[in-house]
């Protein structure tokens, strides 16, 4: 059985960040997909990814898409596996500065209410600074 988005969401609801590992070339595959982006193989095994990573970059969204209340922070976080993930940094935008770059965060999940164009409700990763 292929591991699909619905399974990713189910794992997330249970607190697990899930990706795939290519058994042929060793590449970590995230977001999940049917074939490895590096070698093209489909010998992919479900794997739990680290829930800690470092902030690579971030922005404070001040003009938001309809349905979102600015300001809020979106960040890219790099995991020890080499995978980059996107999510919301749970941090006061008024206090945010570039000293946040390189800081370690813990990864959690939050449910996002969908709109009529989103295909239902969704999940966003949330990042919290580890003190």
């Amino acid at each position: 059985m292929k591991f699909k988005y619905i399974d990713f969401c189910e794992e997330a609801r249970n607190g697990r960040l899930t990706g795939l590992k290519c058994e042929d070339c060793g590449n970590f595959v995230f977001p999940i997909k049917g074939f490895c982006s590096e070698c093209g193989g489909n010998n992919l095994r479900k794997t739990e990814l680290s829930k800690k990573g470092t902030i690579e970059t971030f922005t404070i969204i001040r003009i938001a898409p309809e349905g979102f209340e600015p300001p809020y922070i979106v960040a890219l976080v790099k995991l020890p596996e080499g995978v980059t993930v996107i999510g919301n940094l749970e941090y006061d935008p008024d206090e945010a500065d570039y000293s946040l770059l390189g800081k370690t965060v813990e990864i959690g999940f939050k449910s996002i209410k969908g709109d009529k164009y989103s295909g239902g409700d969704g999940i966003s990763l949330s990042f919290s600074l580890i003190q």
Binding site: Y5, F30, P31, K33, S37, E56, T57, F58, T59, I60, I61, R62, I63, A64, P65, E66, G67, F68, P70, Y72, V74, A75, L76, V83, T84, V85, I86, G87, N88, A96, Y98, L101, I112, D115, Y117, S118, G119, G122, I123, S124, L125
Partner: protein, 407 residues
Amino acid sequence: MYHMKIKLIVFENEGRDKMREVAIVGVGMTKFGKHEETLVEMFSDAAEEALMNAEMTPKEIEALYLGNCLGGFEEGQINLSPFCASGLGLRDIPTVRVECACATATVAIREATIAVGSGVCDVALAGGTEKTLGMGTPFATRTFAMGSDSRYEGFTGITFPGVFAMMAVLYSRRYNVPLEVLKEKMAMVAVKNHRNGAKNHKAHFQKEITIEDVLGSMMIADPLQLYDCCPFTDGAAAVIVTTLEKARKISPKPVVIAGTGLASAGSLMDQKDLPRLRAREKAAQEAYRQACMTPNDIDVCELHDCFTIAEIIASEGLGFFEHGEGWRAVDKGETDIGGKIPINPTGGLKSRGHPIGATGAAQTYSIVKQLRGEAGELQVDGAKVGMVDTLGGDFSVVCNLILKRGW
């Protein structure tokens, strides 16, 4: 100048290199800005100008490749291509709507090039039409963000200014350019493109701005400010492509499509080497390979400056400058008209405006005018080869065209 590793050997067995040579014989575009006309009417106006430009009639068009991204949201109109053909009095011909986010119209032109090149038809119309102003900023921002990965990225509330803001920070870190210094050079990109756009009577914004204007404007997505961002706009643009053989019979100045490149990448998280963009490097290499050219051969370029940092990143990805050096080139004026490689002499997306599904055709319009020597005050002297670069989504698609004089 940075040299890409480009295979210049043409493999005779590769079908794609056996195609007929294709040229542009007519270009047209509406003014970009607020329009009362419908999506179909705007495209009709652009196509009519292109037809007049080519001294052709609509009945000579054998296929339509129509770019449009958001018609369903803008006018409640999908399935736009047959209506755009009908707007030109055409029925019976094959029509296709093309959608590749902001790269849409360039991809439509590439599809038309392939159709003519392969012999499916002899004359094709390609371009795009888009009306984003009527949606208002929050909803337009929502629909534009649909170009990112809706499952894994969209629920974070990411926006395209936000994506490029994150790239500006990454660029600063990776190449060790203090963010304040980079911000000032980014502001210089905006100043240059507005200076050019002020002389482009079809641009959305036709006014010059200062570095202080940029750095004093409202914050959109830190560190990008309002004047780092291109505006939402309405507009349409169209080009007519045919075989070079036919083009030489009907046009004194046919513009040859010497190379095209189109490459894809997955979501933002699939990118491994940011702020370098894999799709752009792949697309550009293919375009250079087909044209048997290198970045040194390009005399003028219209590239995807949706945000100021995007121009700097693109100028490196296309091979005009080393990675991490594009910001210096802006400072030295190397991208000005009269500089080493004039970039966005018509004002770019920044000043011309960005009606997403039409942008690539407007860029192509501008390069064709440059190569023909019809760019007026914005003319790059002696331009013989030009390049179009259009990026879609958060780096998931890039399309490049290399155009050269065919006379």
